[in-house]
């Protein structure tokens, strides 16, 4: 555990010593801020219209504003995740520092988990940036905070799985760009693989089960479904397991 923290601390140091962390924070801050303000403006318009036309159905902040915005956060994550994980191992392989890690009295799995955990912490920082926007809603309105919290847990788990896969892809190459592009491709594929609602055959159900979006839906509604938690946990486990195997094979090949 101590070793995991040593690695994690070093990775976080690298993230914040290079521009990458700040670029991502800026991206999340500006882009999501814009999304939030335009969505809020639209919501206000609707609620005014509803008031004037004397609608009986009350507007719901959680359902009509927060939920769609949260899927936007997940989309932003799709772009951020490859940028976060691409350098994790590719850079160490290119500069030869992997030799330092691999010849230190520390287990491969500790290196892998440490690096992955650092990427999760950075992503959590990004999520925190988006959460600031929602904080304003609590100042002026009364949204339900429990579903919001669960949705954020879902976002973090979803990203955790994709980050683990990205970490794995980063061990496969010395080239950061290749690692980043590969990770983006895989993430995108896991995103759209669920677009088979039109089909009712069994394979369509199986495919849509693999979609990271399908499993986020319950979280977005504020429901903590163990089935979905287990799915994300499995993706994380598989990603880290393959990363550790890949590091081991590096020793046999290089």
């Amino acid at each position: 555990m101590r070793n995991v923290l040593v690695i994690c601390r070093k990775e976080l140091g690298s993230y914040f010593a290079s521009p990458i962390a700040y670029i991502l924070l800026l991206l999340f801050g500006v882009v999501f801020g814009w999304m939030f303000s335009s969505a809020l403006g639209q919501f206000l318009n609707y609620s005014m219209e509803a008031q004037m036309s004397g609608s009986y159905y009350p507007m719901n902040l959680n359902e009509q504003l927060i939920r769609p915005l949260l899927s936007n956060v997940a989309v932003l994550g799709l772009f951020a995740i490859p940028m976060i994980t691409m350098r994790l191992f590719a850079e160490e392989k290119r500069s030869g520092t992997i030799e330092l890690l691999a010849t230190s009295p520390i287990r491969d799995i500790e290196i892998v988990v440490g690096k992955w955990f650092a990427s999760v912490v950075l992503y959590a920082c990004l999520l925190l940036f988006t959460a600031v926007n929602f904080a304003f809603l609590f100042r002026y309105g009364h949204p339900d905070w429990k579903p919001l919290l669960i949705a954020y847990l879902g976002l973090l788990l979803q990203a955790g799985g994709l980050l683990a896969l990205g970490t794995f892809i980063s061990t496969l190459t010395k080239n950061q760009i290749i690692a980043g592009a590969g990770t983006f491709g895989v993430c995108l594929l896991l995103w759209i693989v669920g677009w088979v609602d039109y089909e009712t055959a069994a394979w369509a159900h199986v495919l849509s089960y693999f979609s990271v979006v399908t499993h986020f839906e319950s979280f977005a509604r504020g429901v903590l479904d163990s089935k979905d938690v287990i799915f994300y946990a499995t993706v994380i486990f598989i990603g880290l397991f393959f990363t550790a195997r890949s590091m081991e094979s590096l020793r046999w090949r290089s």
């Binding site: 140091g13 500069s95 330092l100 010849t103 230190s104």
Partner: protein, 328 residues
């Protein structure tokens, strides 16, 4: 301290290291010598548990590299060919990170960081970014990183590569200073370096062990006969070169006389004796009795360079043994 038995590393198409055997005693400096691509780095990587051997065993401080890699890694400091530096870190920060990786913490960690900085003369760049350091400093930070946890064994892969002559000397002195408390294996393809720093040499070529011995024995072994440099001067300003040569040739046991240089009345000869004969005494007597001045008489040490070329010239050790056996 280090014991290597039949160590072999095979890749898909090539055998990088082929059944290598050698031992290193505690506190020794061993030079690991070979042309580029001989398998030096691969052997070092196996010793440091970076690569697992295909067959054979290697033990460091009594621990097997395959069975107990964590114990081995605790006892080894390794400087790879490219110093493993993170350009975005400051020197002290980096050394602290490596120290933590190696299991140090708290006051002990700070003490070791300060000690390593002082030892490797990098205290003045403690707060500089590693990416901005010059090649010489980078190499020394690499060394500091290797000694940070006070390991029993130091494995240094071409520690002086790419340095300027002054830095090379400083690095060599530093390595010599580290011997005694550490057992050191250093690889190089620069021969004088081994002559200057190492007590023992392991020579490999194309993955195979060519020779392993002390530097002095190796020099003696490569040349069976005595080889002497002799400088003679004439008394009254002139010297009959032919007379001297004939006189020297006439001495029993001298097989070859070669005039290397003549300046005015002085001449330098290189003389080789027949195998197993000592001719230095006879040479001195002959020169003095003939009325010439004996300016210099010393055994010509064969440089490692010649030995190295001699040993790595033949394709296989078997062929070499055959060739040697046929000579006398």
């Amino acid at each position: 301290m280090i014991s290597v038995k039949d160590l072999t590393k095979r890749y898909a198409r090539t055998t990088a290291v082929d059944h290598i055997n050698f031992e290193v005693a505690k506190g020794q400096i061993v030079g690991f010598l070979g042309p580029n691509g001989a398998g030096k780095t691969t052997t070092m990587r196996m010793l440091t548990c970076f690569l697992p051997p295909s067959s054979g065993t290697a033990t460091v401080a009594g621990f097997d590299v395959l069975e107990q890699p964590l114990e081995v890694k605790k006892r080894i400091g390794y400087l790879p060919e490219m110093p493993p530096l993170y350009p975005e870190m400051e020197t002290a920060e980096y050394l602290k990170f490596v120290g933590r990786l190696k299991g140090l913490s708290g006051a002990e960690l700070q003490k070791r960081v300060d000690y390593s900085c002082e030892r490797c003369a990098i205290a003045d760049v403690k707060t500089k970014l590693l990416g901005k350091l010059s090649k010489g400093y980078r190499q020394r930070v690499g060394l500091a990183q290797a000694i940070i946890h006070n390991p029993d064994v130091l494995v240094l892969d071409e520690p002086t590569a790419g340095l300027d002559p002054k830095q090379i000397n400083e690095t060599r002195d530093l390595i010599k200073g580290l011997a005694g408390s550490h057992t050191i294996i250093l690889s190089t393809h620069i021969l004088p370096e081994v002559e200057q720093t190492c007590e023992q040499v392991v020579i490999i070529n194309k993955g195979k062990l060519v020779a392993t011995d002390s530097v002095r024995n190796l020099q003696a072994r490569a040349r069976g006969a005595e080889s002497v440099v002799l400088e003679v001067a004439g008394r009254n300003g002139n010297l009959e070169l032919n007379a001297v040569e004939n006189k020297l040739r006439g001495i029993a046991g001298v097989s070859q006389v070669l005039c290397k240089q003549q300046i005015d009345s002085r001449a330098v000869f290189e003389i080789e004796s027949e195998k197993g004969r000592l001719v230095r005494g006879d040479l001195a007597r002959a020169v003095v009795e003939s009325g010439w001045d004996l300016n210099e008489l010393r055994p010509a040490a064969m440089s490692l360079e010649e030995i190295f070329l001699q040993l790595t010239k033949s394709e296989t050790p078997a062929e070499k043994a055959q060739a040697q056996g046929a000579q006398p």
